[in-house]
Symmetry: C2
Subunit: 245 residues, 2 copies
DNA sequence: CGCATATTTGAATTCTTTCAATCAACGTGG
DNA sequence: CCACGTTGATTGAAAGAATTCAAATATGCG
């Protein structure tokens, strides 16, 4: 169950067998299961536990008073839901399960103890947080300066890389539980427009999207079109390359 | 010179006289002066020092390979330019001076020593970082789900609050060195469109903008229209209210 | 005064949304 | 096994928002 988390942290820094054991121990602790649509965290809630997604996808989002909805981040297995425990008092965003999701909840004290006991893990989680911030910045670029088609291609590329890093891709495809409505909420458009853009991408043989399986037909071409540059995903350390180019 | 920084950190937690002295000491250290347009940090640079803006405005931004430019954040006096020193190896964004800017550069070891010596300051800087992340999230909402007019109003509201917190507002106005071109780069639009929206806002007597002085004529009305909710600026602690409503 | 930098304007075009309706897929109960 | 309800995907037409390109004005500064 902790596979994705361990794989994710390993991108940043080597994890010893002992640290791995500690992570597995942790992950076997108090886990909660959410079903699609469930609110894992509500805006305005107090931040009282460290939560990490073990399986499934979730969505960090904000709403405007008039109801408009914007996804602020996608949480994949291994991702920390909320940073700043012990510092941030109340949540400025909410988190929603996009399907069946398993989340471990760790008491702040236990988490602090884990980090105190292992400088490596402390470093790994710090990297995780910085990566999350970098993601957020890239999303701002996406929302602000890419058009609908580029945004979608960029999102698909980013997800490919992130899922690849935790071993959740098969060749050039992956399981993507996002409905068109949610895709729209991620890239800041309407579902109608997403639908039309998706059709164009399929027509041009850039992607296939059947059921929930997304296949990228020519990844490098697609990344070029999206002006996708994966470096924002690998800030961790200078030498940390990825398995893919 | 360290006034803004101290004021900013005080929002999060009380700062003792001793901590204040340490901050002033630090600020009197190695300061660098940049002129308008200067690159304070370049994308791809190694992250080798903690930098804090002491005076003037700067802009955190990213570029697409084809040259499109998107502001990712605005750095006001007291803001930390780059987080994650010691964890992040290379910058995924750049920082540009928007006018004359003073920045202190602090060696990682010196900064670590400061935080080690004062849990309060450690906490304050942690809050600062979380606030920055919250800003980033709100910007994503702004870019994704508000229209041009709302984005502009929201930006003006946010800046009012942030500047107010560091004592840089006068009544309902403040000095805003952003040209229309930069406003456009912040809210993800063209300068032409920003121009037209600004004219409408002036016509409707919502704002005045002469020279570089921005005056907000009816702040609450404006915040309502922008669906602005300042809570994302005050995550620090439950009891930390602001001077304004 | 005059250059350089910013702002403003207009018209045409492109991109995206809106609104409403239709279609397709799927699981349920009868 | 099939009618039915639900959810998600697709379509069309029209309206609306924002961009583009170029040119015209302002404005600030030396």
């Amino acid at each position: 169950m902790a596979e994705a988390l361990i794989a994710k942290l390993r991108q940043f820094t080597p994890i010893s067998a002992r640290d791995e054991r500690a992570l597995r121990e942790l992950s076997s602790g108090h886990a909660r299961l959410y079903e699609a649509g469930a609110e894992i965290v509500r805006e305005g809630d107090a931040l009282e536990a460290v939560r990490i997604v073990l399986s499934g996808w979730a969505c960090r989002y904000k709403r405007l008073p008039d109801g408009r909805y914007q996804a602020i981040g996608l949480l994949l297995p291994g991702d920390v839901c909320t940073h700043g425990v012990g510092v941030v008092a109340t949540m400025d965003y909410a988190i929603e399960a996009l399907g069946a999701v398993t989340v471990i909840e760790i008491a702040p004290a236990a988490f602090a103890a884990l980090l105190d006991g292992s400088p490596t893990l402390a470093r790994a989680f710090a990297c995780e947080e910085q990566q999350c911030a970098a993601l957020q910045r890239e999303w701002a670029l996406n929302l602000g300066r890419r058009d609908a088609r580029e945004r979608l291609l960029h999102l698909f590329s980013e997800l490919f890389h992130r899922l690849h890093d935790i071993g959740l891709t098969q060749d050039n495809s992956y399981d993507c539980p996002l409905k068109q409505e949610m895709l729209a909420d991620v890239i800041g458009m309407t579902s109608v427009h997403v639908n039309r853009v998706l059709q164009a991408l399929r027509r041009e043989k850039l992607i296939e999207l059947r059921g929930r399986q997304l296949t990228i037909l020519d990844r490098l071409a697609l990344e070029r079109m999206a002006q996708f540059n994966p470096s924002y995903l690998r800030l961790g350390s200078v030498d940390a390359g990825s398995g893919i180019d």
